[in-house]
């Protein structure tokens, strides 16, 4: 029981990791937005790369999160996010050959799905946040 209790409580290190994880994700998203506004219209190739990088980075970040917190089985939300984001990356690649309408459609489906997922019970990261909040 003691072990279980200890295991469930976030260590300070874990808390720090999560904090920098969120900060890195915020920074990457910020740079992405800046690049999209600065070069999106004038450099189509860069716009395409950014559109691909967005879901690809989300997949990579969720892999890091799940690995850090005990693997895919213990982090079902992250595991689902990885699968969905990888599929989205592939779908964006296909949509890019069809035009921006198709790309927006892919992002639309993805955002809706992501929204549905985060309305579900909290992820491991969310639980950690809730626990730390107590």
């Amino acid at each position: 029981m003691t072990n279980e209790t200890l295991e469930k409580l976030p260590s300070t290190q874990d808390e720090r990791w999560l904090q920098s994880y969120y900060l890195v994700r915020a920074a990457v998203a910020g740079v992405w937005v800046a690049a999209a506004f600065a070069f999106g219209a004038s450099v189509p190739a860069l716009a395409a790369a950014l559109l691909l990088a967005y879901p690809a980075w989300d997949a990579a970040a969720n892999v890091m999160d799940a690995r850090r917190h005990g693997g895919a089985k213990r982090n079902p939300t992250q595991a689902i996010n990885v699968v969905v984001s990888v599929l989205t990356t592939v779908a964006v690649a296909v949509a890019l050959t069809m035009g921006m309408h198709a790309v927006l459609g892919v992002f639309g489906v993805w955002a809706s799905l992501a929204g549905l997922c985060s309305l579900q019970p909290p992820s491991a990261a969310g639980e950690a946040t809730a626990r730390n909040g107590r």
Partner: protein, 65 residues
């Protein structure tokens, strides 16, 4: 999280509407959504920092050991 989930769904519906509208969309239509994402991650990081500081102030390990 519920707030961001609801917002994400709204944005998704909006994107799908734009995907079916005649005007050609651009990356600039997606960028504001990404900015919201950045904002939520910042909030999460800040919340963790505040919660951690509060816990340390209220006595380390009060809830743990």
């Amino acid at each position: 999280m519920i707030l961001s989930g609801g917002q994400s769904m709204l944005v998704g519906v909006l994107f799908i509407k734009q995907a079916n509208a005649p005007a050609i969309p651009s990356i600039a239509d997606i960028a504001p959504y990404a900015a919201f994402g950045a904002f939520y991650f910042l909030i999460s990081a800040t919340w963790l920092a505040i919660a951690g500081a509060r816990r340390r102030r209220s006595g380390r390990g009060a809830a743990t050991h």
